[in-house]
Structures are given as structure tokens and as C-alpha cells.
């Protein structure tokens, strides 16, 4: 069986529930391109993930177009990570956050020399932000400026 096509599935679901059709982002222009200038083993990697991960003690995300982000210290113990989200089954992310926020995995790849290093902080937010305008005008540029401050060579984006 091929991959699940989510766009028609969600369109049909919305129609059945009487919701207005969702306006998916469709970028038809050629994607912007920045070649990697050095091998991964010399690169500092950043991470942004949309699975609603926060650190115990931080304020959790809310479920209605929340465009805020959380900073996660790169060397935090994964045991204090929490997950909250309205649109996916959280049961696995709550027992092992690495399924949507690969913090232990990335640290291991640095120890093994596969990656040169990691930014000192990672970023999380809660996806399912219906307003793509708010992402384009607020969240995305905010995270981009953080990544530039953090001096990363490449960024891994992990949606859910």
C-alpha cells in the first residue's frame, strides 16, 4: 500500500463534519536552496519540532492557533519532557519524546562523530496552526532569527 494521502482524507472529513474546506499551503515556485558548505561531521545542527513538546515547569501550549515556541536546552534530561497536542495520538510521545523530538538520538550522533555538534537550544511549538499567515509572518521569522543567532549550519524540521 502506498503512503496515506492526508489532504483528500482531511478534505472529506471536513466536508462530512460541515466545516469549510481547509486552504492548504501550496508552494509552486522552486524551493530555495542553500548547499551544505561542509560535511555533516563538521556541522552544528539546529532542531525545530511541532509536536507540542515542553519542559516540565514551562507553560504548556494551548490548542487554538498557538504560535508561541519553547526553548529546550539541548542537554536536558528527556525524562522532564512533556507532550501536548490536539491532533495526534500522544501516547507514544509521552513515554518516549524521541518519536517526535529526537533529542537523545541527535546527542548520540554527536558522540559518534556523525554530526559536528548541536545548537545550545532546540525549539518546539504546537502545530495545527490553522492560519498559515501567522506562521509565515510571526513564527517562522522568529525561529529563523533564533537559528541565525545560534550559528547553526543546518536545521532539522520535525513536524507531526
Amino acid at each position: 500500500m502506498g503512503p496515506v494521502d492526508y489532504i483528500p482524507r482531511i478534505r472529506d472529513n471536513y466536508a462530512r463534519l460541515g466545516y469549510k474546506a481547509y486552504n492548504w499551503v501550496v508552494n509552486r515556485d522552486t524551493a530555495p536552496w542553500a548547499p551544505l558548505r561542509k560535511p555533516l561531521s563538521k556541522c552544528r545542527l539546529g532542531l525545530a519540532a511541532s509536536g507540542g513538546i515542553y519542559v516540565a515547569g514551562q507553560v504548556a501550549f494551548h490548542y487554538k492557533d498557538d504560535t508561541s515556541h519553547r526553548e529546550i536546552p539541548t542537554y536536558v534530561d528527556a525524562k522532564v519532557l512533556r507532550a501536548t497536542h490536539f491532533a495526534y495520538d500522544l501516547s507514544d510521545a509521552r513515554t518516549d519524546p524521541n518519536v517526535v523530538f529526537p533529542i537523545d538520538t541527535l546527542r548520540r550522533l554527536v558522540r559518534e562523530g556523525f554530526l559536528g555538534g548541536l545548537a545550545s537550544r532546540f525549539y518546539t511549538f504546537m502545530g495545527g496552526i490553522y492560519s498559515s499567515r501567522r506562521v509565515i509572518e510571526d513564527l517562522a521569522p522568529r525561529l529563523t532569527s533564533r537559528f541565525l543567532e545560534d550559528g547553526v549550519d543546518a536545521v532539522l524540521l520535525v513536524p507531526v
Partner: protein, 109 residues
Amino acid sequence: MTSARDITRACNPPRAAFLDFPLGHTTGKPHAPDLQRRILVEALSSFETLTVPGSMKELPFRWSEDEEWKAKAFAEGDDRTPRHDTPQFQDEEDCRRANVGDPPSLPFC
């Protein structure tokens, strides 16, 4: 990375790595660190191997022998949680800890 190939194709990011797993597992299965590592090695390698803007690498991993989860992904109905505009903590203890944050946050619970 993505587990929703059609949505990512529509967004058209510079590079993508597609993992054909159920949503909520974009970087692997729980408590399977060696699998999670192999998935990320394959995905991150595409920084070095993809050369055409908009390319998507299909990662060579399967969730299970049968693909029963895909039938469930097509199930009818809306299983999303109501969209509250107040913080939705994983548990009460997290909420209490956020309340005593520095600077003190609003009382959430």
C-alpha cells in the same frame, strides 16, 4: 522530515525525508533507540546527497509487516481534542510547577 508525503510535497521544502509511519512518529518508534538512530542517519544524510531543490528521499523503513495502520488513518470521524485556548498540561504536577515559575506565571490550575 515528514510522515505526510502529500502535505510536504505541497509545501515544497528544499529537502525532505519521508518516513512512512503513523502520525506522531516522525522520527521513529518509541523505546527503539537503534531504529531511531538509523532513521536519523538516513534522513540527515540527505543534506549531503540531495542536490535538487524540492527533492524528497523515501526512507527504507516500514512500521509493520502488514499495513493495517493505514486503514485506521482513513477511518471516518474527527478524533481531535477540542481546541481550548488555555494551556493544556500533560499532568496536574506540570501545571503546579508552571504556576510557581520565575517570574511567576498566571495561575493555570
